[in-house]
């Protein structure tokens, strides 16, 4: 258990470092949130109003003091309120985070359902037409940018074919069918990159596993090909694949901006981007803190899963 405690300790340290770096960075960057807020629409605000707002938002306090109050707030579970509309940051995050997570999970599901079987098949039939076509498709998917894919999906499915609504969001509880319909296209857009990665990784990993001696042993034992495949090849090949997938999913946490923008999906990336644009300090730091904490948590979980899958790690 000492191992787990140490990992958790390190993780907390990590999160604190990240939050502090972002806190510092966002304050160093030029741009004044009060000024910006009152300048919306390209107008010149009254300097008195700006000064007043700065004061009200606590922006005139020394940086160190702002940092301390931020830290003490975090410990209490209070991430402050948005400078733009005074909405509690934590509430905003709790509202939007599940939607981003849902998007990522859906994309990952597509990636796993398509990528792993396809990669395995491509490895088994290495050099065949299927392998070539699938590998080519994977490379293609990696190459085309996600915002282009997203735009094309909207163009084809919503405007031309009229099969899907043109983006937006409806809570699952309110209308499950429409919710899933609206989820489909953005999940596809997110999934396209993941599918390619999973496919390549699976293919490489299965190829590697196929050449291992223990696969020869399994065949020598007279096991059926499907059993050899599932219990010996795929079981061993999956470990690096899942690691890579988890890594990508983690980085997606803050990186779904383009997809959310194109499909009007109200996840966490968009308020982050807006907050940076508007220099909404508490919102920026709050969201980054959440994302990094989640990522660290994800890593921790992956380590545990990895240990469960590969006993050599457990005892190392």
């Amino acid at each position: 258990m000492g191992w787990a405690a140490r990992r958790i300790g390190v993780s907390l340290l990590l999160v604190w470092v990240v939050a502090s770096i972002v806190f510092l960075a966002i304050h160093l960057v030029p741009g004044d949130p009060a000024e910006l807020l009152l300048s919306s629409g390209g107008v010149a605000p009254d300097p008195g109003a700006v000064a007043e707002l700065r004061d009200r938002l606590g922006l005139n306090l020394p940086l160190a003091q702002q940092y301390v109050s931020f830290l003490s707030g975090v410990v209490r579970g209070d991430l402050g309120t948005s400078l733009v509309d005074e909405y509690p940051v934590l509430d905003e995050i709790l509202l939007r985070l599940p939607r981003t997570l849902e998007l990522i999970a859906a994309g990952a599901l597509i990636a796993v359902l398509v990528g792993i079987p396809a990669g395995t098949l491509a490895a088994l039939r290495r050099g065949s037409a299927f392998d070539r076509i699938a590998s080519g498709l994977a490379a293609l998917l990696l190459a085309v940018p996600v915002f282009v894919v997203g735009t094309l999906l909207v163009l084809v499915f919503a405007q031309i074919l009229r099969w899907m609504p043109a983006g937006g969001y409806v809570p699952l509880a309110e209308d499950p069918w429409r919710h899933l319909t609206l989820l489909a296209l953005p999940a596809l857009a997110i999934g396209k990159g993941l599918v390619a990665v999973v496919f390549r990784m699976t293919r490489a990993s299965v190829l590697d596993a196929l050449s291992r001696d223990f696969v020869r042993t399994a065949r020598a034992k007279g096991l059926s090909p499907s059993r050899v495949l599932m219990r010996h090849v795929v079981r061993n090949a999956l470990i690096p694949v899942l690691t890579v997938l988890a890594l990508h999913m983690g980085t997606l946490l803050g990186g779904t901006v383009l997809v959310e923008y194109v499909f009007n999906w109200p996840g966490l990336s968009t308020p982050l981007l807006r907050a940076v644009e508007a220099r909404d300090y508490p919102m920026v730091v709050g969201i980054v803190l959440t994302i990094s904490a989640l990522f660290v948590l994800l890593n921790l979980v992956m380590d545990l899963v990895y240990a469960a899958l590969d006993p050599r790690i457990r005892h190392a």
Binding site: L142, L155, F214
Partner: protein
């Protein structure tokens, strides 16, 4: 030329072409990529602008090629920087452990905690947009990938025997890292590099799309896509060109890196030859009938010839091999590495790699020709009536399953209706039988928790689980130390006595043969050169090679006499006797034609046209 290098040329050529185009952009006489001509905006193909004009009336083709410069420069620069620093960081962290490792791994974790877009946003806002900032941001973003890959490989390489060996020899860390670890890491790093470059190009377009990339009016593919997206309804082709350029470039890069990886990997399989019906019958049109005279042999191999397709042409590592082994008998197949002994064994088991196939001969087991059996039937025999034990028990056992499970699996594969619990308890019994103490606990262990000797016992347990009639042991003790060797040999002998199974023991050690075998087959360069009972062959060797082998065994204080010359390579087998070049008794006739296998008494064969003469000479010399 290494296998796989041919596949390198096409993608390398493509990438080189693209890079060349980008480099030569100033010299190609293209129209000015930033010159606006708004009157002609969104024009289709026209003279001087084969791809039309963009939303400012600028020439698309020119912008595409100039854009290649910036997009590619940024991508390659950042991937290279990330590769360099990431690899170093990973190597240092993985090798030296301690604080260095902690810092290396954790700092990468910090980087990964940053959403890429946010990092880009912050850095660009702080430092202002532009190619330099972009390269910096992308390098930082791709660093963790390289660090992790290198770190993982170093960790795994550290534990490998060959690294331990080199360290024990006193090699310095630097030397070890560069000469042993780095080459192994090179493959995954190359893959990572290709992914990084591909990703960098795509990310650059995404950042430019958000306005965080290269500063206009300088062209970049990302900026072109941004502009084209706005005018997608009016000029859809405008979106197509930069996307096409992006896709082609990344595709080429990926193919190149895959091909590079394959070329560097010594285990590259060559293309699988397509099996035609004719090949199953030709050559050796009529398979030889089993020898009706001999007492029931468990396995009888007749005229086995195996062919492997290689880039340099087909080779025959096994040619015209015949032997038989009976119940309760131990047959040893002895020869140097490369003599074809393992290939013989694997072809009997039907475990040849796809590039290899038997082209002549037969292998009879229980009245059926293994070489012509359909796969499902062969599978029933494998692990059942015939089993095999391999040389390296560590890699031959699946590291993620418990030992007991792996044995139980073998049992359940051949017996219907056996439950997991029953199979498990049988596995425990087997472990006890092969001499593993505390078998209940051991069965729950993983392979890496056991010593080499124990693992080999497990392998043997797995092999005998279904009471095979034939057990093939391919150098089972070569990887073990001497004391354990003896134990394993005893175990095998015991099992053979108990069950009456036939045992084929493949080895290169004559001492072992003398100890356990009843009969011996001596192989050289893919052929059987002598065969007979052990006392006879060892007492009175007939083939010059056998003589030389026996002479080579150190006897007391006498210096071992090595055999001058080297074994001929499979693709350069001489026409005549393959041992002729090294044979002290060779005559011109030996090299002229391939010698046939001749009978030399009861159950003895020898492949030498002068065996009788040489025997007479020797007898004279002694007398």
């Amino acid at each position: 030329m290494r296998p796989g290098t041919k596949r390198l040329w096409v993608p390398a050529g493509l990438v080189a072409l693209i890079v060349l185009l980008a480099l030569l952009a100033p010299l190609l006489g293209l129209p000015d990529p930033v010159r606006q001509d708004v009157a002609q905006r969104l024009a289709g193909p026209m003279p001087g602008s084969p791809l039309g004009r963009d939303e400012f009336g600028r020439d698309v083709l020119s912008r595409l090629i100039w854009g290649a410069r910036s997009s590619l420069a940024v991508a390659f620069a950042s991937a290279s920087i990330a590769c360099l620093f990431g690899t170093i960081l990973g190597l240092l962290g993985g090798w030296f452990r301690g604080l260095g490792e902690f810092l290396a791994v954790r700092s990468m974790d910090i980087v990964l905690c940053f959403p890429p877009v946010l990092l880009a946003l912050l850095v660009v806002t702080l430092l202002g947009p532009g190619a330099g900032t972009l390269i910096m941001v992308l390098s930082v973003l791709y660093l963790p990938g390289f660090v992790r890959v290198t770190y993982a490989e170093v960790l795994s390489a550290r534990s490998h025997d060959y690294v331990e060996a080199v360290r024990a020899l006193g090699a310095s860390a630097g030397r070890i890292l560069t000469r042993t670890v780095l080459p192994n890491v090179a493959g995954p790093i190359l893959v990572q590099f290709s992914l990084a470059v591909a990703s960098a190009v795509v990310l650059e377009s995404g950042l430019s799309f958000l306005g965080l990339g290269v500063v206009p009016p300088a062209p970049s593919w990302g900026l072109m896509i941004r502009g084209a997206r706005a005018t997608m309804a009016q000029a859809p082709l405008l979106l197509l060109w930069p996307c096409l350029a992006l896709t082609l470039t990344i595709l080429a890069m990926n193919l190149l890196c895959d091909a590079l990886r394959d070329a560097m990997d010594p285990r590259t399989a060559t293309a699988r030859p397509r099996l035609r019906l004719l090949d199953r019958v030709l050559p050796g049109l009529v398979p030889p009938a089993p020898n009706a005279e001999a007492p029931e042999a468990v396995l009888e191999v007749g005229g086995l010839t195996v062919e492997i397709a290689t880039p340099r042409g087909p080779i025959r590592p096994v040619e015209d091999v015949s032997f038989a082994v009976h119940a309760g008998e131990t047959l040893a197949i002895v020869g140097e590495s490369g003599s074809g002994k393992s290939v013989t064994a694997t072809s009997v088991m039907g475990l040849l790699p796809p590039a290899a196939r038997p082209v002549a001969g037969a292998a009879w087991l229980e009245g059926r020709d293994l070489l012509r059996l359909p796969e499902p039937e062969l599978r029933r025999l494998r692990g059942g009536a015939m089993a095999m034990v391999f040389q390296d028990p560590m890699s031959s056992l699946n590291p993620v399953h418990r030992v007991g499970d792996q044995i139980a699996e073998a049992i359940r594969a051949h017996r219907r209706g056996v439950t997991q619990a029953q199979a498990w308890s049988r596995a425990v019994d087997l472990l006890r039988r092969v001499g593993i103490a505390d078998p209940e606990r051991r069965a729950r262990a993983y392979p890496h928790e056991m010593s080499g000797g124990m693992r080999q016992r497990v392998m043997i347990a797995m092999a005998v689980a279904n009471e095979p009639k034939l057990l093939i042991a391919d150098e089972p003790t070569t990887a073990l130390d001497v004391t354990v060797q003896a134990q394993i040999l005893d175990l095998l002998a015991e099992l053979r006595r108990e069950t009456g199974m036939a045992l084929i023991f493949i080895t290169h050690s004559l001492g072992v043969v003398a100890e356990i075998a009843d009969r011996v087959v001596v192989m050289y360069a893919g052929q059987v050169v002598e065969q007979g009972s052990v006392p006879e062959v060892f007492g009175a060797p007939l083939h010059p090679y056998t003589r030389a082998l026996l002479a080579a065994v150190p006897d007391g204080d006498a210096a071992p006499a090595g055999i001058p010359g080297v074994v001929p390579q499979p693709h350069a087998f001489p026409v005549g006797c393959r041992f002729a070049a090294r044979c002290p008794h060779a005559r011109p006739a030996c090299e002229a034609a391939p010698p046939a296998l001749e009978g030399a008494g009861e159950g003895r064969t020898v492949r030498c046209i002068r065996w009788a003469e040489i025997g007479a000479e020797k007898a004279e010399a002694v007398a």
